[in-house]
Symmetry: C2
Subunit: 378 residues, 2 copies
Amino acid sequence: MIYLDYAASAPMSEEALHVFHELNKEVYGNASSLHDAGGKAEHILNYCRRQLAGLIHGREEGIYFTSGGTESNILALQSVLNGLPASKRHFITTSVEHSSIRNLVSLLQSQGWEISIMQPDLNGRITPEILLSHLKENTGLVSIQHANSETGIIQDLQELSSVLKERHVLLHTDAVQTFGKIPVHADELGFDVLTVSSHKLYGPKGVGAVYIRPGIPWKPVYPGTTHEKGFRPGTVNVPGIGAFIAAAAAMIGQMTELSQHFQKLRSHLFTEAERLGIPLKPVVQEVRAQVLPHIAGCYFLKAEGQYIMLECNRNGICISTGSACAAGQQEPSPSVKALGATNQEALRFIRISFGQHTTLQEMDLLLKTLQTTSFSKL
Amino acid sequence: MIYLDYAASAPMSEEALHVFHELNKEVYGNASSLHDAGGKAEHILNYCRRQLAGLIHGREEGIYFTSGGTESNILALQSVLNGLPASKRHFITTSVEHSSIRNLVSLLQSQGWEISIMQPDLNGRITPEILLSHLKENTGLVSIQHANSETGIIQDLQELSSVLKERHVLLHTDAVQTFGKIPVHADELGFDVLTVSSHKLYGPKGVGAVYIRPGIPWKPVYPGTTHEKGFRPGTVNVPGIGAFIAAAAAMIGQMTELSQHFQKLRSHLFTEAERLGIPLKPVVQEVRAQVLPHIAGCYFLKAEGQYIMLECNRNGICISTGSACAAGQQEPSPSVKALGATNQEALRFIRISFGQHTTLQEMDLLLKTLQTTSFSKL
């Protein structure tokens, strides 16, 4: 099987598995227990907190571990919104966020929050102008993804956060797809609140984290919570967190090499597709928007993505038609529609995403399958 | 180190670690992905659902996997309350529930739910009379733990559920401490909604499940959720779930033997304590209430539990003064206070909890430490 859906999930690395195994044997106490077994777990947990803070250039007291990216988004937004003064009940996000945020918006609306949804420009970017046109006196928090999980388009958070900073509006960013792939640097990007996840970068599933810049007020979603300084209730998954941090550190340690590797795969895919007459086009030209190197979001111009995905699957190749968290939904993806695609065009979207061990040979096998499909009676 | 705090957390069994390892290598796809890698994960997930349904004698379509016991309690209660008709806005629980439920109660109250808190009798039991005295016309849901995590006292759910069934009131039970230790049988106990957790029975941390008897209406806490039929959002942790189910099946397979083993340890502890003149008494006599065999909740009559816990810790033995999820709180435990203890008595509480590999020799070493402590200048 050729797996090209790393943006949906990745296997744990050998290193992460090893750390998980060792921690389960040695550090199985409940991190909240007051005896040495608990102390040992708490010690590792705090070590992981420091490590993660280092990886994002933040401060350890701002790190809260969770059960994954979705929970991170939900708790981060609710906790920070809860901490805003009554005069700041306007929340802005985008039409292209992960489903966890899109779904939370309905809940926030029913709770009386005033919500604005920004539409990116035709290159998938939220520009300072778009952001400014949505800001109001009572805007308290803005949530903009660092990069899109389907199109791979990266937002210029540095530019956007400076607009918000001047106006004392907080910025949350969902960096689930970018963490470990491109730099996620708290000061440089200027976010106040951050979501990251473990299983997209070879850590275990069921682990994630939130960073809230120390000093920013927030209130627990579940009052009375003691774990994670009140941020998330429930026994902390220390072995999983240790494995996550090991995986994240390894990815960040080889970021430059991996990025070059991904660029090579991506460019090979599109260049060869063109040479072979395969009707495959990136959803956005790289000159018009920065894109994540490991995600190739593209249109297959002659057929629905669903059909191409199934054809690939029949040939032992796993690609996707978009976010797995919205799989099974019949509607075309809002992230693709935002690029100006008609419904019909948007349904021709496929996502090919690479892992650290993906090879040029695998790209060639994918291209061969796409070529056969192109010349079949479509 | 002698670890005697298995009620707080247990290490993963070799078997569970092996399953986790294999699934991470072979079944790493996102269970929501539509290609074969996703299909494989979904297949294992559904196998686990069937297995867990079998272990509780329920139906697979009622099983929803979560990130642990606390999240299970929170989502189960909120989802089922959301599904009740407007005429049923009264919720009853007990004063001795796990902190996740006690904390949720504050949130529910602020959302306008009418709440009653039942106090058990002096043997820690919720009797049918106590339950009846709290039921009202508009009672929709009652949550009663299967057994207490501190005292080990087991509730007679069979008796209580029949009271509720006649009156069409739903019963949720938190079986985090009982699942895998004593039978948790859907039809026999008669619960409608169930919470279980993985890491108390040698599965990984960060995994749990909820059972909602099919046919009972519920509404997602987060509207629009696709994973787990809308019950819980976020990528499903299939390797963790697989390991949980392997651990649970193993525990249930040897329940009788283990129960006898635990009984032996428990009875040795109290008999020897008495013989040696150690001022250690069970919080409740077994003739007055059924207790979990692996939890010895007791009073050390001559000193605060905190002091005993630290003395044991100094001697390399991990015991606790109560639930790890409430560790660090200064108040005496509500579960111990409910037994009629004064504040001072309640602060003399310690919990000793056994694992499958706990030995009589370890009990003797604990007794020796307790004995030395008893005869020191207390």
